[in-house]
Symmetry: C2
Subunit: 368 residues, 2 copies
């Protein structure tokens, strides 16, 4: 991307109230990761305090005294990231903070501050905004984080939320995506696919509710997966546990887009390949049952469902004894050389290329 000469004259030339250019490449053709790559491929940092810029869960900024600050940000748009017909504002506020804290933990850092910006249409009352902030403050309290700033503004339609989290770590403790080593074990915390199945249940009940006015949704027995979707937690406990166990991961990422996508981020950035065993992927019984009920493959839900906010990391085989049998962590595979590629070994020991559906922007038609 080359910067063109730019100043007052060119600004006035451009002010012709006419479309800028006839060229039009649809964003759909690139997808989210393609767009980010395109927009940042010539990005160069000039400040020595910028230790790591775009390309990990958070940016890393030197803070002197052997310490760093990590900074991460997320934007949540109504109708894209949340549906207020079944997401209580209290939970939305909580989740909006938590997903950012998850990115901080994924750097092996401790979140300390957040800023919260909201844009609101006149559909929202003070009571609704307070409900949202109750959730935001609750997450701050639970995770020991301070709300230090933000912006409050209007929107022509719907709610937009943008949160930035700042964390701290010793410089030497920061874990990047890029430093996994061949033969390292691939480890995942908790279980996967639950948030996605929670979403399926909510969407189903919303449909029933719309079609049959007054019928209350059937949510019994789904507490676990509904909570995974509506009120996820960031794995602070895993970061603390790893420290106590004396295990420093060689690479780490949080699982927001599904296991497959995140494994590929780690291997891509570390210049490696991977082997993942389907039978090792941790899936909760409720997730499994509900997936079957919806005629979905539970493994696919875990690989591509997303929003689990678990941690995926690699550790040296030397650390295996320290994490073996730990109920919070599951070894699901290992890293291999780049040429071997990324494979999923299914339950019949067949190898399949591991591919990511990831999250591509669903560029919906603009409603005029």
């Amino acid at each position: 991307m080359t910067l063109r000469p730019f100043g007052a004259v060119s600004s006035l030339e451009r002010l012709n109230f006419a479309p800028m250019s006839n060229n039009r490449t649809e964003l759909e053709e690139l997808g989210e990761f393609g767009l980010i790559k395109r927009l940042t491929e010539n990005n160069k940092a000039v400040n020595p305090s910028t230790l790591y810029a775009v390309g990990d869960d958070a940016a890393v900024i030197d803070a002197g005294d052997g310490m760093v600050k990590v900074v991460t940000t997320d934007m949540l748009m109504e109708g894209i990231h949340f549906d207020l017909s079944y997401s209580p504002l209290l939970h939305l506020g909580y989740k909006a903070v938590v997903v950012n804290l998850s990115d901080v933990y994924a750097m092996n850092a401790i979140p300390k501050q957040v800023t919260v910006s909201i844009a609101l249409s006149n559909r929202f009352s003070l009571e609704a905004v307070e409900e949202l902030y109750h959730g935001i403050y609750k997450a701050c309290t639970v995770y020991g984080v301070d709300l230090v700033g933000g912006d409050t503004t209007s929107s022509l339609s719907g709610l937009a939320l943008s949160i930035t989290a700042v964390g701290e770590a010793k410089k030497e403790d920061v874990v990047y995506r890029k430093n996994a080593q061949e033969k390292d074990l691939l480890v995942v915390s908790g279980d996967l696919g639950g948030a996605y199945m929670g979403l399926q249940v909510l969407e189903r009940e919303k449909k029933v509710f719309k079609e049959t006015s007054g019928v209350q949704p059937k949510l019994e027995g789904n507490d676990y997966i509904l909570e995974r979707q509506l009120k996820p937690e960031a794995r602070k406990d895993i970061i603390e546990m790893l420290e106590q166990l004396g295990v420093k991961p060689s690479s780490m990422i949080d699982i927001s887009d599904g296991l497959a996508s995140e494994v590929l981020h780690l291997t891509d950035q570390s210049g490696l390949g991977s082997v993942v065993y389907e039978e090792k992927i941790p899936i909760d019984p409720t997730t499994f049952e509900r997936a079957r009920e919806f005629h979905l493959d539970p493994t696919v839900c875990a690989l591509s469902g997303g929003e689990d906010y678990e941690l995926l990391f690699t550790v040296s085989q030397d650390d295996y004894e320290k994490i073996k049998g730990n109920p919070n962590m599951t070894v699901i595979g290992y890293m291999v050389d780049k040429a071997s590629g990324n494979h999923l070994i299914d339950k019949r020991e067949q190898a399949h290329p591991l591919t990511a559906q990831g999250w591509d922007p669903i560029l919906k038609k603009e409603e005029d």
Copy 2:
């Protein structure tokens, strides 16, 4: 604001697909500052690294070695903060970064990093997004700032931009809004009201263009005020100049909402009053002429127009000799005790209470 018990059970109880509460207080009743006050009145920081949270141009975070990081964030929504029929995307990107850097300078800090989040509908092509990023990178280059992260996502309608800037300063150099002293001089950089008059010209020409298709806008002679509106600069030079002059302001704020609103922020947070002389307020000749042409009072444009991104600060009278005659800075008044209130002395030496129209959220009707 009290946090209610909150967990899986209450979450499921709340999932009844029905409106939350019958109470409804319109946000318009509070205005932006009222809403912020309400949402943050019980906000308490728990981390020792949080040196200053909500209530200034940026939050201040301890960074060890006698240094701090300052963090500020702004959200810009299409249709509220910008109109793409006359704001070129190149300029919008530039301005979106600059307005955040302006907040960093207002803390007497130097911006070093920014994160940029964008939400886009399918109306936007890759070429449009690249145009926006050219402006973003251009501002980064001009101000020596690194783009270190962000988020790229979809929107159901229009463009939303959220930028966070991180700056650094020696702890002892940070200038807050709250430390102005009685008798300190009130000083403003540059001139005021230009951005507002630029907007008036653009809105007028847009109207003509809409009513008479094909007629190109008349923008000649308005270069200065159009650039003030479309491509403002942050006053990095003033911060450097003050350092060279050996002047540390006792309080400082950037002028985003109009001079009156910002004077009141400084006096309110410093527990003081103020006297501002109308004839001292710096107004550019183009701003003045255009205001007259629009039957507007140029002083009102300067007091309430906003978006000038100049710096307003207070200095000790002992520093007067150092700034006297400096063409970049104008002494417009001085601080008095709180009981004396805030007054504008007009050109006939009449005193008027200084009031802020400020910026209240224009909570427009949601378009369904």
